[in-house]
Amino acid sequence: MHYGKLGALRAVLFTALFGLAAQAQAVTEIQWWHSMTGALNDRVNDIANGFNASQKDYKVVPIYKGSYPESMTAAIAAFRAGNAPHILQVFEVGTATMMAAKGAIKPVYLMMKEANEPFDPKNYLAAVAGYYTDSNGNMLSLPFNSSTPVFYVNKDAYKKAGLDPEKAPKTWKEFAVAAEKLKASGQECVYTTGWPSWVHVENFSAWNNLPIGTKSNGFDGLDTVFTVNSPAHVAHIAMLADYAKKGWFTYSGRTNQAEARFFSGECAMLTSSSAAQGNIRKNAKFDFSVNFLPYNDTIPGAPQNSIIGGATLWVMSGKKPDEYKGVTKFFSYLSSPDIQVAWHQGTGYVPITNAAFDVTKKSGYYDKNPGTDVAIRQLNNKPPTANSKGLRFGNFVQGREVIEEEMESVFAGKKDAKTAMDDAVKRGNEILRKFEAANK
C-alpha cells in the first residue's frame, strides 16, 4: 500500500466531495425482497430498472432473498430488528399471516389513498384481486405473479393410444377413459401432478364449487374450520388412490417435480401451474395442449372457476411518507398495461389488470400462442362464489403440508381416503385454532 499521507488526504477529499454530490441527488431507495429465480429474476430486474430510469426521485432495489418461506422468515426477523424491506413478495399461503399482522403491514389501498394516487381495485382482475381484499373490498396487497393450475396433455401420446389429440378430457369420467387407453398403449406413466394440495384439494374445491373451509374459506373470520373431508372430497382422493393402484397416477412430490416427467415424455398428462408452460414448451419434444382442469360432472355448479396461486407484493409498515409515495408510484408503474403485458407474455403468469388482458387479446397474442389464455379463461369461467374467491387460512404453510402429508399416506397405501382426510381436517383445525389464539 503506497498511499501515504497525500494519498490519504486525497481519499478523504474525494469521499467528502462524492458524499456531498450524492447528498445533492438524494434518491430515495426502496427495497424490494423477492423470490424469483432464473429468467423470472431477470424480468424482475427489468421492471425495476425500467422504473428507475423513468424518474429521478426513487430507486427500487430488488433483492433475491431465497425461496418464499425463507424470504418471509428473513423479513419477519428484519422487521423485529427494525429494518424490514419496503416491499415483500409473499406467496399466497402466507396471506392470512400477513393480513393478521396489522401492525407490520401497510395496506396497499391505504397507502395509495394517502399518497393521492388514483387507484381503482376494479381495474384488477376480479379472480386475482379478490384473494387479497378484505371483507370491505379493500385491496391489502398488490397481485404480482399469479397462476392457476391447468391440464397439460401430450397429444402425441394420445395419438399413439388411439385417442383424439384435440379432445382432452373435460370431466374425470372422460379422464378415466383416456387413462385406460393410454395405459393399454404402453404408456408407463399416464398422469402425474404438481402441487398436489393446490390442485386436488384447493382447486378441486373451487372448480367444483365446494367449500375448502367454513366462513367463506376463512375470509369471514378466524374461527373457520376445514371441510375437505366431505364425501365429494374423499371420493376424489379415493379415486386418485385407485388410479395409483391401477398405474394411472404416479405421485411425483409436493412441488413441481412432476413437470419434468411430463415434458420428458415420461407421463402423458399433467396438472400443474399455468406458469410452467414456458418451461414445458422449451423442453417438450412433442405436441401438447393446454386445457381446463377436469371437473366432476356429478357435482352441481361445476365447473365454477379456479383459484390462483403465486405471490403478491406486501408493503411493510414503519416507513416514511416519502418512501410510501415512491412505492405507490412503483405500483402504478407496475400496473400499467405495457409492463403488465410484457410480464404476462414473458412469464406465463396471468395479467393482473383487465387492461393488460384486453391489450393482449386485441394484439392476437392468444391466437398466435394457443394455450396461453387458458389460465385466465379458467379463472374467469364464472363469477366467483363464496367457495371460489380464494382461501384465507392462518398458518396455511403448515396447513397445506398437513393436507399433503395425509394425501401421501393415501397414495402410499397406508391409509384410506376417509381416514386421511378426517385426520387432515383434525390436524388442520388445530393449526387454525393456534393461529386464531395468537392473533385475537
Binding site: S35, T37, G38, A39, L40, N41, I63, Y64, K65, G66, S67, Y68, E70, S71, A74, A77, A78, R80, A81, T255, N256, E259, A260, S264, S273, A275, A276, N279, N283
Partner: protein
Amino acid sequence: MVENRPWLTFFSHAVLIAGVVLVAFPLYMTFVASTLTLEEILQVPMPLVPGGHLWENYVQVLTAGSERGAAAPVGRMMLNSLIMALAIAFGKIAISIIASFAIVYFRFPLRNFFFWVIFVTLMLPVEVRIIPTFKVASDLGILNSYVGLTLPLIASATATFLFRQFFMTVPDELAEAARIDGAGPMRFFVDVLLPLSKTSIAALFVIQFIYGWNQYLWPLLITTEESMYTTVIGIKRMITGGDALTEWHLVMATAMLALLPPALVVVLMQRWFVKGLVDTEK
C-alpha cells in the same frame, strides 16, 4: 497376522476393495454427471463414463451459477467458504489456546466457574438454539456478513479441552525454568508453549477447516443474499428451485467443487487429520 492364510488375506483385500469401490461410487457418478449435459443425464440410464462437457459445466458454474436456480457464481461461494473455513479455524484455535492457557497455568478466582461455562457449550450445539441465535445475530446486525458467518461458531469447548490436555503433558520444569529466568507468563506462552503446541495446532487446524467449510445449518439461516452463500448451501439452493427444474449437471459440478478442498486437505494432511480426530475425542 499370526499364521499365513493366503485365502484369508485374499478375502481381506477383496472386502477392502469392495469397500473402497462402494465409498468411491457416489463420487465417481458425481464426477461423471458433472461432465454431461442435462439432457444426457435425464435420459435414463445416464452414461457411466465421463462425457465431454467438463470444461463448460465448471466454467459456467464458477462464473455464473445455475441458470434456473439460485444464481450466485460458485466462484464467489467458494471464496465465502474459504473465508469462513479459515476464519473459523484460526479464530477457534486462537481464542481456545489462550483460554486454555489461562485455565491451566493460572490460579484465580472463578477459574472453575469459567471452566464449566466453557464446558457447558458442549451441550448447546447450534441446532438446539437455532432461532434465538439467529435473532441475536439479526439484532446485532451481522446477518449476511462474514462476521455473522464465523463469529458465533468460534467459541469451542473441544479445542479448549484439546489444548488443556496437551498443556497438562508439558513438563512443569519448563514453566519453572521460565519463571526463574524472569520471564512473564506471556513470554512463556509465546516462546515455549506455542512452539511445543505446533502439532496440536496443525491437527486442530485440519479438523476445524473441514468443520468450517462444511457448515450447513448456520450459513443457511444467516445468509439470504446470494453473494454470501457458501458452496455447501449453494448446492442445496440450486436443487430446491421451486418453479424451475434441477440442473443436475451443474449441481454435481458444484458438489465436486464443494468437496474437493476439504478432501484434499484430508488426504494431503492425513497424519494431522487422524491425530486431530483421535485427540479431540480421547
